[in-house]
């Protein structure tokens, strides 16, 4: 029995933290967020060189061959630093290719994703804003051996920067008509535009497919058989976003606790008042709890991905409720200063708001917990 990290994992955490502390202060985060790209290619490249982007990809394709528990360690730290990067999106695109791709597809795409030269994205959600199979309306019409995509994806994380998109589409009405395809930047008929968002560190896009042709070598796995994999990718995405939130909310919590110790009112540090103590204690309970749920979900993704859905839903449901709630509390506990652009609290608050619906909000995941629990 061991529900903790290994020495190697603790070492990895220390390395990531040091790298981010040295290279990505919150001042830097603000500068990067203002760039049209929304992330820093140079820093991204260095992270990839250190092996953190391809951490879970097989060694044969340029990865490090580690698991989700290791990746969670990295994500907690990127979340804590609010590091703007397409890490989750690139990992998901790579996971799809690794799980369903042919040897040729893996050889062609995985090394580039692992070394940071290719930014990936996973295009799933559409106007219906649903994570169920029914939510995928993008049509793939047969055209000989190829498929022609007509339709639109919305709310696609990191799409504006993506060089490669893994796209979910359907060729019929049934659940077993859903497939995944690879579309590369510049494909004829493909257009991507930025949907301006609250959290400038998480660029989100609209992807239009006006007769984009997928040759057979761009389809991942058997046509129509992708729904179980899509579902797995949602579990992965929910766990990854929760892992980042662990770090993000811990970061905001630390900032707020420090402030409560220093800010004097009524001749006392405000942290001496129970009205300030209690929301901070409650947030601590929440963080530790969705952290436990997140670690367990990551462990299940490694050990038994087929049953990881329940664990992922519990983690993301908890985080989706707790993180935005504490974001608001933290601003209130700061008072006026928390409302300013200069002070950093709002950066965390906006990240929590970005994360709330990503790969399912609490409503979605609670319903899934109820169904999987036999209701």
């Amino acid at each position: 029995m061991n529900f903790g990290f290994s020495e190697e994992q603790e070492l990895l955490r220390a390395e990531v933290r040091k790298f981010l502390d040295q290279n990505c202060s919150l001042d830097e985060v603000r500068k990067i967020a203002e760039k049209p790209e929304g992330f820093d290619r140079h820093l991204w490249g260095r992270m990839a060189e250190l092996g953190w982007v391809g951490l879970t990809f097989p060694e044969a394709y340029g990865g490090v061959g580690l698991g989700w528990v290791d990746l969670v360690v990295v994500l907690e730290e990127t979340g804590r630093s609010l590091f703007p990067s397409p890490l989750i999106s690139t990992v998901l695109a790579g996971t799809a290719i690794e799980r369903a791709g042919s040897d040729a597809q893996k050889e062609r795409h995985l090394p580039g994703l692992a070394d940071g030269s290719v930014v990936g994205a996973f295009a799933l959600v559409e106007d219906a804003d649903s994570l169920d199979a029914d939510g995928i309306a993008l049509r793939g019409a047969r055209d000989g051996d190829a498929v022609r995509l007509e339709g639109e994806k919305l709310f696609v994380p990191d799409a504006p920067d993506a060089d490669l998109l893994v796209v979910a589409f359907r060729s019929g009405d049934a659940v077993d008509s859903i497939s995944l395809g690879i579309v590369e930047r510049g494909a004829p008929g493909l257009s991507i535009d930025l949907l301006p968002g609250m959290d400038e560190t998480k660029p989100t896009g609209r992807v239009r497919f006006d007769g984009v042709t997928l040759q057979s070598d761009a389809i991942l796995g058997p046509v129509g058989g992708a729904w179980p994999l899509v579902s797995h990718l949602i579990d992965c995405g929910a766990t990854a976003v929760t892992a980042e939130l662990v770090g993000t909310v811990e970061g905001l919590h630390a900032l707020t606790v420090d402030y409560a110790k220093q800010r004097i009112q009524f001749d006392k540090p405000i942290g001496q008042f129970q009205g300030v103590k209690h929301p901070l204690a409650s947030a601590f309970v929440d963080i530790e709890s969705f952290k436990s749920l997140c670690y367990y979900a990551a462990w299940q993704l490694d050990e038994d991905p087929a049953v990881a859905s329940l664990a992922a839903s519990r983690a993301k449901a908890y985080a989706s409720e707790a993180a935005p709630r504490f974001g608001v509390d933290a601003i209130q506990l700061h008072g006026g200063i928390g409302y300013t652009w200069e002070y950093d609290a709002h950066l965390y608050l906006k990240r929590a708001k970005w994360a709330r619906p990503a790969f399912g909000d609490a409503d979605h995941h609670l319903e899934r917990i109820a169904s999987l629990g036999g209701l």
Binding site: Q272, Q274, K277, S289, S292, G373, L375
Partner: protein
């Protein structure tokens, strides 16, 4: 991360499972079965399983304790031993602070469940601020004379002994000093017990009055004036919340079952979106409690001491005990406020009684607000009030 058991631990789990299956069986258990079970677990040294072997305990490792607790909970087994407070904190305090005579006198009886202990800590003016207690105690030669009152003393009317905190010194720098711990027979002259009826209509706790109660000095536990340390260390015998988690899961399963049987707006409550969310949220929290407990356990197994972070699960438990009761009533709609005896109330009013009994757990070991103070001050390092 690894959630598997070692071969030895797995063998112990099997042993426990087999024993429970052979000695408890399925379904309803009669008094004779339970009495036989208690005798056998005592022989196996599973009563006081965590206590050192030299005192008649089982000397079980942390992991074995967890396995035993978990299997017991899964089998819905009765508690190990019958002297509840004796096993929970009186015994551990006597083992740590008692004289050889006290150990000889009390420990075997606690393990055998010879009689009950009750706990005289809270007073009318000292609840959450327990260290402010003022039950007066003066020494006359080899005797302490106690005058004062205790309150919220659970099972006082059925107990033979009380572990009592009294104030032997009033001029002290810190209110934590000058408190002394005494072990007192409940039939001592001058003790009066008055049961208090609770809001569910039952009487489990009581007021206990002390009027010139004379206690021999040899019944003092620990040094005079050091009683606070005795109490704190006894209450610190906290373990991971494994048993509570299983208990809550069982209640949740029953709530789900209730939701399938009850109708809301003409449809099964289990189909109501709001009810489904609340059930799912409770399940999510219980799982968080289980996993938090396993993280604490991992810390203990690595030889680190558990600190005040165990208040995390106390807060979850408090919230869940209230929420599950409220949820069960909400599921029942107009039947919710009925009481046993109505022929339309589900499960003979079990849920109504449950929904009125959470204070037992929620207030008993320190209110949620106190748990939040503990986290804020001892974990987050915020300044004390």
């Amino acid at each position: 991360m690894d959630f598997n058991l070692s071969p030895d631990e797995e063998a112990f789990r099997q042993e426990v499972r087999t024993f429970l299956a052979e000695n408890l069986g399925e379904g309803e258990r009669d008094m004779a079965t339970i009495a036989g079970f208690q005798k056998k677990v005592r022989e196996k040294r599973w009563v006081g399983f965590s206590w050192p072997k030299e005192y008649g305990g089982g000397g079980g490792s942390i992991m074995e304790q967890v396995i035993l607790k978990e299997e017991m909970a899964k089998a819905k087994a009765p508690p190990l031993g019958t002297c509840f407070m004796g096993l929970a904190w009186v015994g551990p305090a006597i083992i740590e602070y008692g004289t050889p005579e006290q150990k000889k006198k009390f420990i075997p009886d606690i393990l055998d469940g010879a009689y009950q202990w009750c706990t005289g800590y809270s007073e009318p003016a000292s609840g959450s601020d327990l260290a402010s207690l003022s039950c007066r105690c003066e020494r006359e030669g080899d005797t302490y004379v106690v005058n004062g009152q205790k309150i919220w003393t659970s099972i006082a009317m059925w107990s033979n002994w009380i572990i009592l905190l009294v104030r032997t010194q009033t001029e002290v720098k810190s209110k934590h000093d000058g408190i002394t711990c005494l072990l007192v027979p409940m039939d001592t002259k001058g003790i009066t017990v008055r049961p208090i009826k609770n809001m569910a209509g039952g009487a489990i706790f009581a007021e206990v009055f002390f009027d010139d109660v004379r206690v021999p000095v040899e019944n003092r536990l620990g040094e005079e004036g050091q009683g606070w340390g005795v109490t704190v260390s006894a209450l610190a015998h906290e373990r991971s919340s494994i048993a509570e988690v299983h208990g809550l899961s069982r209640i949740l399963d029953d709530v789900k079952d209730l939701a399938r049987r009850c109708r809301k707006n003409g449809r099964p409550a289990a189909e109501n979106a709001g009810i489904r969310r609340r059930i799912a949220r409770a399940e999510m929290r219980i799982e968080a409690m289980r996993l938090n407990g396993l993280r604490f356990l991992t810390k203990q197994l690595r030889g680190e001491k558990l600190g005040s972070e165990t208040s995390i699960n106390k807060l979850h438990r408090a919230e869940l005990e209230v929420e599950l009761g409220e949820l069960a009533l909400e599921i029942q709609g107009s039947r919710g406020p009925l009481w046993q005896g109505s022929d339309v109330v589900p499960d003979d009013g079990r849920w109504q009684r449950y929904a009125l009994s959470w204070p037992e757990v929620v207030i008993g070991g320190g209110t949620p607000n106190i748990q939040k103070n503990i986290i804020a001050e001892r974990v987050l390092g915020l300044p004390k009030d």
